[in-house]
Amino acid sequence: MFCFSLPMIKIVGYVFDSQLSYNSTMAQLTYLEAIADALRFEMRRDERVFMMGEDIATYGGAFKLTKNFHEEFGRQRVLDCPISEAAIVGAAIGAALNGMRPVAEMQFMDFVTCGFNQIVNVAGTTAYRWGLGVPMVVRGPSGGGVGANPFHSRNSEAWFAHASGVKVVCPAFPADAKGLMIASIRDNNPVVFYEHKGLYRKIKEEVPEGEYIVPLGKANVIREGKDMSIICYGSAVHFALAAAEELSKEGVSVEVVDIRTLVPFDEETVLASARKTNRVLIAHEASLTAGFGGEIAARIAEKAFEYLDAPILRVAGYDAPTPFAPTLEKAVLPNAEKVLMAARKLMEY
């Protein structure tokens, strides 16, 4: 298996604000373990939380994220489902309307295209039309860089960001993944939660034990800087950080803002960073055209225009399916080098 070569990043300098609640005990967890931890914590705390998905019980999920869950929670609450994404999402919506808080797994996020109608048309309109919450999380592994194929690598978060009525979460770190998952489960609205499969076992960090919430709609300035801002999310945060590290050696002070959630979007933090550094680069793994980077650029070009000293640049996937061969995949997907090149161009402007 061709693997995403990511440094094991130890994170320092999280910005916790008063809305963040956390427990002082910490454990070293991978991104995958942190998500499992969040799910287990919520399942223990709240009987209404249950999971639906393909091969999640006996097998523990394609990535073993829910390994042994059914032993603790039983097969009803860790419900192995037929290969029917529309039924899984639809039934989750029905259960959510009837007092439960389902977490529906897409074995790969790519298969959400088969449950797409349920999410955008049923879940996404129910609050607006009926005034009723649909406290459902649709979660699963997304993204490329691991030598999968065009149907096991897609980054489709922008689709749901454009749907209206659906929250969209893309964590980049284990602690965030946990805190955002708990927040997502407790949210009364449908949330599509993008886990990046390339991060599952690549990243480990201290994750607060027990109750730990990262509220939806709060970006995180994970690295402060003054010369330019990189606005990013998901896997892009890691190659942005790597590029920032390299740039610092070149004397460029880079601020890295991890937006963490696309909907709600923390415009304020993003604009503040743009206004501070006056140079903006946006990075995401998803393909460029009509990706969420466009939205971020547009907000900045409208609301921080007078602070900009240079064009807004985007580094994103090439507009193509994510190819299978590693040579091609590397050409199509963004990475630290591509960010670096764009950042240098930006600084030269």
Binding site: S84, A86, V122
Partner: protein
């Protein structure tokens, strides 16, 4: 559906489970649905209706008989020709009219119209336009009940057209695997918009699909409200006993166009005539008169009251303004 020329209209097959009071009740709901329909058609002709008006005529036995078979904890996900079910579940005319006409006070605040609303207290959950979408949702609703050990049945509807959607398949299969207390009524009213059954499917009965899900399936006369009631009552009993879902195909006719803008010139006259003789209300009325459960005077009085009530609701709703513009900018998310 092939018309059999010689086919005699069979007498209503009385259910052993119904009291005469219940019969009167069902008849009243059917009549109410019919009069509601006529009123909406009128409103549409007057240019005062807002949005599509989907006729219920021909569908009253299917809609009322099925909903009437449910218990007081059960939930209904009605579709666009199930106004009868709304009445059975206790919905009042003003609420309905505000929803249909999207006026201030509508449960949907004007964000949506027709019967698309939900009224949790009345256990009514409307639909979205995308056909088939409510099948897995209604199944999931009772998955939740089942997990909590509650014995609740959910029921929804689909047409002879909508049965071809992928969500029909995924929803019915899921419900069958989970043995959910779920009932799907397939209302085969011969047409899906302009498309006859032959455009939609090639099987004999749509209920034949039950075999492929491993659930109960049957096709019944959808113009005899007591047959519908009986089949649904049994389906609900099976559901409560943990025997899983049922597919009940009610065969009837959509007696008007898909919506009022449609002149249904594609429907052969003989076909309409055939079904006119099987009008579910006429059939039931004859039965009730014959069995002396109601007199013609009773019925006339009943109809007059219903018409007046509907007129009052329309008069009430039509005078109200549309909800204020700001409502459109609210409520995309709940707190």
């Amino acid at each position: 559906m092939k018309l059999k020329k010689s086919d005699k209209i069979p007498p209503i097959k009385p259910s052993k489970r119904l009291t005469n009071d219940q019969r009167i009740s069902m008849f009243r709901f059917m009549l109410q649905a019919r009069e509601f329909d006529l009123a909406m058609q009128r409103l549409n002709r007057q240019g005062r209706a807002f949005g599509g008006v989907y006729s219920q005529t021909g569908n009253e036995a299917s809609s009322v008989g099925s909903a009437f078979a449910l218990g007081e904890k059960d939930v209904l996900f009605p579709m666009h020709r199930n106004i009868g079910g709304h009445f059975v579940f206790g919905q009042d005319l003003n609420t309905l009219m505000l929803a249909f006409l999207a006026r201030e006070g509508s449960l949907m605040r004007g964000t949506d119209g027709t019967g698309h609303y939900a009224d949790v207290n009345k256990r009514i959950y409307g639909n979205i336009s995308h056909l088939g979408a409510m099948i897995p949702v209604a199944a999931g609703f009772v998955l939740a009940s089942k997990m909590r050990g509650e014995n609740v049945v959910s029921m929804t509807y689909i047409g002879d057209g909508g049965s071809q959607t992928g969500e029909f398949h995924e929803g019915m299969n899921f419900a069958s695997v989970q043995k959910l207390p779920f009932i799907l009524i397939i209302e085969n009213n011969q047409y899906a918009y302009s498309s006859p059954n032959s455009v939609e499917f090639a099987c004999k009965h749509l209920s034949d699909r039950a075999l492929g899900y491993g659930c109960h399936g049957e096709t019944i006369d959808g113009t005899d409200v007591e047959i519908v009631y009986d089949a649904c009552w049994k389906a609900a009993e099976r559901a409560r006993r943990g025997e899983g879902p049922s597919i009940i195909e009610t065969v009837t006719m959509r007696m008007r166009g898909h919506a009022e803008h449609d002149d249904f010139s594609y429907v052969p006259r003989e076909e309409l005539e055939y079904w006119q003789k099987r009008d579910p209300i006429d059939r039931y009325q004859n039965f009730l008169l014959e069995k002396k459960i109601l007199t013609m005077d009773d019925i006339t009085a009943m109809r007059t009251t219903l018409i007046e009530e509907i007129r009052a609701a329309i008069d009430y709703a039509v005078e109200l303004p549309f909800p204020p513009a700001e409502e459109g900018l609210k409520g995309v998310f709940v707190d």
